[in-house]
Symmetry: D2
Subunit: 241 residues, 4 copies
């Protein structure tokens, strides 16, 4: 399994509070948790400030699953890179979209909706309830998952009806949120997972790590002879030998 | 539209607190709110203690949508009546399953799962959040719907993945619940709606009334030439004139 | 109900065979069948060659449901008009996407996938089988719907898993196709319906007319207080009076 | 992985034509193909004529995935055994339902619908088209899968809307069928796969073998702390340590 963790890596360098939690960046913390939970995987990182944001064709062509965390700089991500990622997802690459990346270009491009939601930074307690106990992404996690303090993300979350909802969250203030959602798009799989605000040590939590490792396993490409890149004109009997 | 409201009608006669809220029974309160919201409809009621629980063949054959509220006496509902209702739903009759009827024989018969859930009677505040704003059952209702005090129903709710989730609730204690769920079964439609504990005046709330009227409209039968009662042996060309 | 029928109106003016079937354009034929099946509706048409393709803000703002037929000139549709339509759909306008409009900019914009499919022009017989007999779009139509000669559209059709599949087609050559698919996007509803190749008199068929009228009814906007155009910062207790 | 293959084993002993294809029974052929494709698995078989149909509590308790083929003798399967299987599925055991087992007691018990379909024995060619190329059950199979001669199974197939449709079939006579369908029920997963009529050597086909092995992998239990066997009364704060 070849995994690439993309991190915007802006908060970590501007905000000492975030740097205290993620001294070498959220992307490296996430890369380490995946390396620990998925031994044998090849794990790379990429960030906004690199050429092509670290995601040139060679990198994308050797990525099975891409994780994406962004927030402040969605608008700085080059449209051509976004489109290249979208095409790779449609060709089978898995994509894990994290927290504030709900407004990333790549997520909105693939969803077709606005992806807006309600939010509040007020140290709400978040509880994630599993609503698909048979789903591999929920394997081995407690019910509920407790996040003592987190940013509130609440409904209505403007996404297409997910193909599978794995987790639904509540917040102290009374809001609910579809916090773990699966989407199949083309030959690829997309998982949105909302925990991960930069000012809390969410990605140091072993339960969250378990969810991310599960999600990478779920999103891995599946071999298929189907090619969706063209609309083939198919004469009668084309499939017969 | 021909509507039948079935009420167990046990709490109302045993518990003065319930009788104070629903002096002539929950079924009659629900029947009145439907009559008010759906003028022109023919509305009947039926209760447990009647012969065939008020649901003989003649009644079922002239019912477009059946609403079902039960709690204490699920086990007293005759299996033959349950099966007759199930067959009618599969033939197109709409079914609205209310609150504690999640454990009714008819709901479990049609779902195939246990339909268990987590619960607590502790005056939690319930908030219902619309997660399908384009759905006719959510038409015209506030976001969120606020129920000041209610029994908590929480996940995991052991139902099949709903065809559409319209509402998700939170409770003061932190639980969430898929409180408005649509299921298509055979030629019929089933809507489960969780508000309605007998010790609170839920069915006097005009917003709840609006949801129930919307749900009846959504669950109304749709004409179809398809007959699911048999497995027809169909010789080649059977559909050609 | 305010309906706008958009037609590319290119084939009809270039190809005498098409003009023979649709002398005043497919859009006018479709507009007439809707007028006949949905009395009381206000029905307008719009075409590619008009300013803003006939879809300026005033027109879109007064359209409840938009039907879209295009084929040769997808690339000539202005991106700004496409985006305006997409925003209107997300705000609640219904959209019916017909036949070769599977590759229209507006459909691909809302789906996020490539929308490619397999095709053949060889006078295949198409049969549309209802797989959702309780769905209002299938109300009153025969099983199967028989189209004596039609262009083949076959799987794999690169769309997101539909929220509801209403019809699945077979073709003489052995292909299958999800020919009637429902999608909920934002506050709007989208129905894709594949019959309608320009060289066959599909839109003169009263059964197809019935499906289109049913679809318009299904896609009509539903009132909701939810606004998806922003991500509101919501202080604790924001929803309490 | 512990797999149990249940075979009715009636046709094979009554009909020489079937015995010629499956000399030691379909269940043993299926067991061998699984052993070949899933090395390291423990594979057992069970048949109708055994005590408890070979499915006593000890067997079910050590089964991760159960495959079920039945046809002539659905009515001879003991209701208590059916209910025991259903409870095990709801507790997490995978279930693969094959061909004519669409009318088995266990499938109808879990679906809640009639599960009727259209059928014909006339040597139709069946083509299975993948409509979920990213699904693990479709991994590595050709598009389409060609079955030269098979019994026709056609729509309307009276099942709940599947959680995922993997394959849709066409038949020479023009019918279509949702031939590979996934259902999540309780903590378990159910896959219905229609190929497998007893008079054709379907289970000797390596492509079909691949699908069955894929399906067993997909249906394997997933660990979850959720217990759906009760409706727990949960005092406020029950989940806090």
């Amino acid at each position: 399994m070849k995994i690439t963790v993309w991190g915007e890596n802006v908060h970590e360098r501007k905000n000492p509070a975030v740097a205290a939690i993620y001294p070498d960046g959220m992307h490296n913390t996430i890369a380490r948790l995946l390396a620990s939970g998925l031994p044998g995987s090849e794990i790379a990182t990429a960030t906004l400030e690199q050429p092509d944001h670290g995601l040139d064709a060679a990198r994308l062509d050797t990525t099975d699953v891409l994780l994406w965390w962004g927030h402040l700089a969605h608008h700085k991500v080059d449209d051509a890179v976004v489109e290249a990622i979208a095409q790779r997802v449609l060709d089978g690459m898995g994509l894990i979209v994290l927290h504030s990346a709900h407004l990333s270009k790549i997520f909105r491009r693939l969803m077709g909706t606005r992806c807006n939601l309600r939010w509040r930074e007020a140290d709400d307690r978040e509880l994630l309830w599993t609503v698909a106990p048979q789903h591999p992404i929920a394997a081995g996690v407690p019910h509920p998952i407790v996040i003592p303090r987190h940013e509130m993300y609440g409904e209505y979350f403007d996404i297409p009806p997910p193909d599978e909802v794995v987790f639904i969250s509540s917040f102290s203030g009374g809001e609910v949120f579809r916090s773990g959602c699966c989407f199949r798009r083309g030959k690829g799989r997309v998982f949105y997972f909302s925990p991960g605000h930069e000012t809390y040590p969410i990605y140091h939590d072993p339960v969250i790590a378990r969810v991310l490792c599960n999600a990478v396993g779920w999103a891995a490409p599946s071999p298929s002879p189907i090619d969706t890149r063209t609309s083939p004109n198919s004469p009668t009997g084309w499939f017969e030998t």
